[in-house]
Symmetry: C2
Amino acid sequence: MTAPNLDLMFQALADPSRRTMVDRLSRGPASVSQLAEPLDMSLPAVVQHLQVLEAAGLVKSEKIGRVRSCTLDASTMSQAERWINDRRTQWERRLDRLGDFLEQTKDDQP
Amino acid sequence: MTAPNLDLMFQALADPSRRTMVDRLSRGPASVSQLAEPLDMSLPAVVQHLQVLEAAGLVKSEKIGRVRSCTLDASTMSQAERWINDRRTQWERRLDRLGDFLEQTKDDQP
């Protein structure tokens, strides 16, 4: 597996239309027309957004007959999620240790 | 609490220098100079990146005397994390149900 490209992943998720597409795909595979349904834009514009999601590794698509079927790549999703989670938990553990320290200091000086 | 601005959050995390700053802040509060240390850029450029992180709500900063002290906002971090997690788990639950269905179908036709 290649290293996750976090630049591309977070960039892809920074757009509301692309998040709508990811949201739709989280409920199951969809064609490009199905992805376009809730979006107020042309089909070529949807295809461009799809290409950004594919370049980031968040979505895979495959042409089956005349229809391009898109699916979510949960493993790439989890890499973006883990990057945030690692930093957040490190920060929260630090706050916990600070809390413990203050609690101990309180006991020292009644 | 205002609604999280996911556009700004993910946009802020899409830059490697800003992720380096978030990474540093996950280990504790830091001054702007401390944030600049591992980065090959001018202090004004670091301040600009800091403003992007602050606008996204990921970082808070406060001027104490002559020094601007920056801290991570874990609650905003967790909102970005939760958005990804919700979609990923929905997709994985769907795959699990599909697996169960295929397993049952296999039993039906030995």
